[in-house]
Every structure is written in C-alpha cells, then in structure tokens.
C-alpha cells in the first residue's frame, strides 16, 4: 500500500522522511511549506499553494523550484491526492 504523508510541522521533516517507503508521497501543508528547499526531499513531494500564498512564499518558492520535482498543488488537488494513495499519514 502506498501512503500520502501529510506534514504540517517543519521541525519534524527528518523524522517523517525516515518513516516513509519509496513508493510514498509527501505533502507539505501549513508551516511545513517553508521546507520546500530541504535537500533531503528525494521522494515525490507536494506543497500546498494556499499555505504558500498565506505566508507570502508562493512566488519565491516557484522561482527557487524551477529545476525541482516538487509540485505545488491547491486544495482541490489535495482532496483528490488523498484518493490516489491508499491511505494518508498525518505526521504529528
């Protein structure tokens, strides 16, 4: 089964990555959207656009992510994404 890990706390990113399997995806929401530049993000990674916009980070992150495989998604895509994985794991 593949899982979508949902992370809202940037200080727990390393612990979360540690618990993931290769086929899993990671969605950064709330404060964790500040971690898009983290060097350890080798898994499929998404960042929630509304949370980036709220913090004034949307443009900045898009500039920095030109060559990255991080996908920026909105709430509609967030809802659909939870259905593309077998389960979600909110890493608290």
């Amino acid at each position: 089964m593949k899982s979508l890990f949902i992370l809202n706390n940037p200080t727990k990113l390393d612990a979360c990555l540690n618990a993931m399997s290769t086929q899993d995806g990671l969605l950064l929401i709330e404060d964790a959207v500040i971690a898009t530049h983290h060097s350890g993000l080798s898994c499929v990674t998404y960042a929630l656009e509304e949370d980036l916009i709220a913090r004034g980070l949307s443009q900045l992150v898009k500039q920095h992510l030109v060559n990255s495989n991080i996908k920026i998604i909105d709430y509609t895509q967030f809802v659909e994404l939870t259905l593309q994985y077998d389960k979600t794991v909110s890493w608290l």
């Binding site: 949902i6 809202n8 509304e50 809802v79 659909e80 979600t88 909110s90």
Partner: protein
C-alpha cells in the same frame, strides 16, 4: 465519489489545523465528495464551545463549523472524555457531573471514541488535522 471522515485534534485559535480541516471539508464537498463525520479529539474539542468569541474581524471557527454542518448535514462529534476534561459540556453531561453551566454549541454532539472507530471503518479515507 468518495466518503471522507476527519479527525481534528488542533487547538482552535493557537494552531492552524481547524482552519485547514474546514477548508478541506468545503473543497471536498464542492468536488462532489461526502463527509461522514468530523470527530474532535484532544484540544480539538475546544472548538465546540458556543462561548468562543474572537474579535469581530476574525473568523469564528465554532460558527464556521456549525454553518457547514447545518448546510451540508455533517455529523460533528466531540469526544466526551476529552471534552469534559477541557470544560466542554452539554446540559446532560453537566447534570451527570454536577457542573454549574454548559457551553456546547448545538451543532455539535458529545459522544464516545467509538464514533471515531466507526467513522474510520465506514469511510474511504480518514484525514487527521492536528
């Protein structure tokens, strides 16, 4: 179309989880999905007090949940143990526990943890907002 349930444990005004959960529910419904239940646990139960009264230029989370629940017929359930501990009570629980007052918003219902397990088993996805 899928059936979702939510587990919400975030403190109402100090954390963002309640805002995120509300947004998730709104968007899921707009996209044609349905919400079986929102289960409030740990500090998340604090949102069920009808006395919550933020400044007028801020969203009232209690009223936002209540509005959504009434319009979309969503089950808002508050865990009884977590609630009583944190001062959230309805008339029946107040009488049973000899408390002098009650504050549960009528859009919410107090029940046991079994409602969470049931929601897990009867939904396509359980999403936690902590």
């Amino acid at each position: 179309m899928a059936i979702f349930s939510l587990l919400v444990t975030a403190t109402p005004y100090s954390a963002q989880g309640q805002f995120s959960a509300l947004q998730f529910v709104r968007v899921a419904i707009n996209n044609g999905h349905s919400i079986k239940r929102v289960f409030f646990y740990a500090d998340g139960v604090l949102v069920a007090s009808r006395l919550n009264h933020p400044p007028s230029d801020e969203i009232n989370l209690t009223k936002a949940w209540a509005k959504l629940a009434i319009e979309q017929d969503i089950d808002l359930v508050v865990c009884v143990t977590a609630a009583l501990k944190r001062g959230i009570t309805n008339h029946a629980e107040a009488e049973r526990n000899a408390l002098t007052g009650e504050n549960l918003d009528p859009a919410f219902e107090i029940s046991g943890l079994g409602q969470l397990t049931e929601a897990m088993l009867e939904s396509d996805r359980l999403i936690t907002f902590g």
